[in-house]
């Protein structure tokens, strides 16, 4: 078991690119080696050691590596990018692209995450106790697939475009979401605890469940009648009818 604890040495104003903060990269490395890892801040090439205090206990493979990020990481992007195993615990807020392209392991955040958390995620788990911003579990510009696998749970709210272009995996938002969740959903599952608006546009496959209110329904869904899912009665819709979509939209 290896535990690595990072704390910002001072307030970070210009975003740091934290793609090297991942269990795969930290595992088996000494404090000195982690210190030397590159971290870009704006146009300045710097190191993790310059920006963060680093404490390493034990050593182990990625799957047995735990990273604890203490303090304010709200200006650190791309944490856990491409991670395949291990655990990252974040005690505060984090910046954009948390867990982008991750395929395994787990990232847990006590605070809020900025946009593109879980972008193009393939597997593993993301647990966000606070709120998520835009494009949770979405894709990159122009790509046909966003999230492909894994699970994202947000205890708070999320903003627009949750699960855009999702091709697989599951997103649970306990609170409300912004507009157009599950846009172009192509096989993922999205469960919204609270309210939302315009869900499921251009959906071809997958499922969206809304337990709160739908402020504006897209005029592209066919009402199929009532259906009971996990003991709850929902109105069941199919669509988006424009592309003969086979998506399922359940609204309480």
């Amino acid at each position: 078991m290896q535990t690595v604890t990072l704390k910002p040495k001072k307030e970070i104003k210009i975003s740091v690119e934290g793609e090297n903060i991942s269990a795969d990269i930290f595992s088996g490395k000494t404090e000195k080696e982690i210190h030397a890892l590159v971290a870009w801040m704006g146009n300045q090439k710097t190191t993790i050691g310059e920006l963060f205090s680093v404490k390493v206990e034990g050593s182990g493979p990625a799957a047995d590596t735990k990273i604890i990020l203490e303090g304010d990481f709200s200006r650190v992007k791309r944490i856990g990018e491409g991670m395949t195993a291990g655990l990252i615990l974040i005690t505060g807020n984090v910046d954009m692209h948390l867990g982008a392209k991750m395929s395994g392991g787990k990232i847990s955040v006590k605070g809020n995450v900025d946009s593109w958390a879980g972008r193009e995620m393939k597997g593993g788990e993301l647990i966000i106790e606070g709120n998520a911003a835009y494009y949770l579990g979405a894709g990159y510009r122009g790509e046909s697939c966003g999230m492909r696998g894994g699970k994202i749970t947000v205890m708070g709210n999320a903003l627009d475009f949750v699960g855009e272009h999702m091709c697989g995996g599951e997103i649970i938002v306990k609170g409300n979401t912004g507009i157009l969740p599950g846009l172009s959903n192509n096989g993922g599952k999205i469960v919204i605890g609270g309210n939302t608006s315009r869900p499921g546009s251009e959906m071809s496959k997958g499922t969206i469940i809304v337990n709160g209110k739908v402020e504006e329904m897209m005029p592209v869904f066919k009402l199929e009648g009532d259906e009971i899912v996990d003991g709850v009665t929902y109105k069941k819709y199919t669509g988006d009818v424009i592309g003969n979509g086979k998506g399922l939209l359940y609204v309480k």
Partner: protein, 570 residues
């Protein structure tokens, strides 16, 4: 500036060299007989030396290439490399940025590349990009196949005016040759329609694709242009289109070449050699097309080889692109140009286990292996339609090694066994044949064989050295080494400068832009311009005075003279 390449295994089919150790002397950007003792020496150490690669058909610059970039940030984010002291940043795989375009060609040992299609009205854009593509020499073919003046003069059977229009259009666009894409179809796409064969009548203009093709060939030869008509056949991409292709190629017999070259170049034949009637009974007719070429020396073609993986299709064939987008449920850009032509851009992903894709892949290779004379079948991927040009080394390895082909066939859809002849073809091309398909042949087809595509005295000092010792390698078995060597030149020399060493860019001089200045009798020009002035007054959305590409966009131009009035001897 003098350079001497010693101990090279020189493969130079034009000058009859098949790998003999020959020294090459270079002075002031040209190959010369001898150099002084002060010359810088490059010891090739027995490695393969060829003329710099010449690509006669690639989409490297202009409106639709940039549309490809704009609609595909997901492509641009691949192949990213930061700036260095010598190079600008690179992006993209199927639609690289201008810098990557030049660097990557040079890294493969290519030194001359022709953009395959520009509408006159958007030619300024093409040249803006060409001006920023480093290292390589380049040029662009100009679209004439659906232009209103073309169709008017064809209908009026006025070849003098048509020749004058082509001459003026080349000047207006600073174009190198006559491109003809889905003739007539570009106009019909203006109302969302298309021609179905070479005998359909284009509404509003009362001409057929056949008449357009024959007339453009006639004036091309009247003008004595270096290159022949460069034809993208009607019905491209439709099962059963080989009949249209054969009927189009047959038209070549109606016109006599003005120069020692073909009268018709039919491009990316992979997409035009299709049998069957639908995607279910789709099959290869590469044998029929190759057989035609084997019996008709006045027509040449290029492969348009397909590469599995990501590609971006882009062509002036607007209706085809809409059909593609619908078929693939892909994003679709369309870019019709008033009075001139159509165009479309659609991304595609070629998959080994999709039967149609596997059959297409095999068709390209069949074309190269069944066409006996490599001068008649050039190596292209119709970049980025069949796939990005950076994969030429893969194609070379496939053509040189039946073993590699058989290994590949095992990984692709089994349909190739029933629908293609490829599994049974054991021909393996040698270095000379590869040199023809990528250098001598392309230069000859373009009409540039005096200075390009060979290593004789007087040729441009565009040279590539590859990390292969021809006498010590068995390409059949060591195909991986062939691929790796052709993907990354040991040296690329452009105009006498070393621009690549060990696959790395070492210098980035700006190459030249070729265009053809073809003169016609003033009276023909004046008559023709009366029609053009009317077109601008009534139909174009811009002024004639702002139409022609200005000199500012050709800072390094190479003018090739041609025309009905013989060019003055300098």
């Amino acid at each position: 500036m003098e350079l001497l390449i010693k101990n090279g295994a020189v493969v130079d089919p034009v000058n009859g060299n098949k790998g003999d150790k020959t020294d090459i002397s270079i002075k002031d950007g040209k190959i010369v007989k001898t150099v002084s003792s002060k010359a810088t020496i490059i010891d090739a150490g027995g490695r393969l030396v060829m003329a710099g690669g010449v690509d006669a058909h690639s989409h490297i610059a202009g409106a639709k290439v940039n549309v490809g970039r704009m609609m595909r940030p997901e492509d641009s984010r691949s192949g990213i490399s930061p700036r260095t002291k010598i190079t600008r940043p690179c992006t993209g795989y199927t639609v690289p940025n201008v810098y990557a375009m030049g660097y990557r060609y040079a890294q493969m040992g290519y030194t001359t590349v022709f953009e395959a299609a520009q509408a006159i009205m958007k030619a300024r854009h093409t040249h803006e990009e060409l001006e920023e593509i480093p290292i390589i020499d380049k040029g662009a073919l100009t679209l004439f196949g659906s232009n209103w003046p073309t169709m008017d003069f064809v209908r009026e059977k006025d070849m003098d005016k048509l020749a004058a229009y082509v001459s003026w259009g080349l000047l207006a666009s600073r174009g190198f040759g006559v491109k003809c894409v889905n003739p007539g179809g570009g106009e019909m796409w203006g109302f969302g329609k298309n021609v179905t064969g070479i005998d359909d009548v284009v509404p509003g203009f009362d001409v057929t694709p056949k008449e357009i093709i024959v007339s453009l060939m006639k004036v091309n030869e009247m003008l004595g242009l270096p290159h022949s008509v460069h034809l993208h056949c009607n019905n491209l991409g439709n099962p059963g289109n080989y009949k249209t292709t054969l009927a189009s190629m047959e038209l070549a017999n109606q016109v006599k070449a003005s120069k020692k070259r073909q009268v018709m170049h039919v491009t990316h034949l992979l997409f035009n050699s299709w049998g069957g009637t639908n995607w279910g009974d789709f099959e290869s007719k590469a044998d029929e097309v190759a057989n035609f070429l084997n019996n008709h020396k006045n027509v040449t073609g290029d492969m348009g080889q397909m590469i599995f993986g990501s590609a971006t299709t882009m062509t002036a064939d607007g209706p085809k692109q809409y059909a593609n987008a619908k078929l693939l449920h892909a994003k679709w850009s369309n870019g019709d140009v008033e009075l001139e032509d159509a165009s479309g851009v659609v991304p595609i992903y070629y998959v080994k286990q999709i039967s149609v894709h596997a059959i297409m892949w095999a068709i390209g290779l069949e074309l190269a292996l069944l066409t006996k004379d490599p001068y008649q079948m050039l190596l292209t991927t119709d970049h980025p339609n069949g796939g990005p040009f950076v994969n030429y080394s893969e194609v070379i390895a496939l053509l040189m090694s039946n073993k590699k082909r058989q290994e590949e066939i095992k990984t692709v859809h089994e349909a190739v066994h029933a629908k293609n002849k490829l599994p049974g073809l054991d021909r393996e091309l040698d270095f000379s044949e590869i040199a023809i398909m990528t250098r001598a042949g392309t230069a000859k087809v373009l009409g540039l064989l005096d200075t390009k595509g060979h290593l004789g005295v007087g040729a441009d000092a565009d040279i590539s050295i590859y990390d292969i010792k021809p006498d010590q390698i068995d390409p059949t078995v060591e195909h991986a080494k062939i691929k790796s060597a052709f993907s990354s030149a040991a040296y690329t020399i452009k105009g006498g400068n070393v621009v690549v060493k060990d696959g790395q860019i070492t210098a980035t001089p700006l190459g030249r832009t070729y265009w053809v200045d073809a003169k016609v009798p003033q009276q023909h020009h004046d008559e023709m311009m009366k029609d053009i002035v009317k077109k601008f007054k009534n139909y174009y959305s811009m002024q004639l005075a702002n139409y022609m590409v200005q000199d500012e966009y050709l800072t390094h131009q190479q003018v090739v003279k041609a025309g009905i009035i013989p060019a003055e001897v300098n």
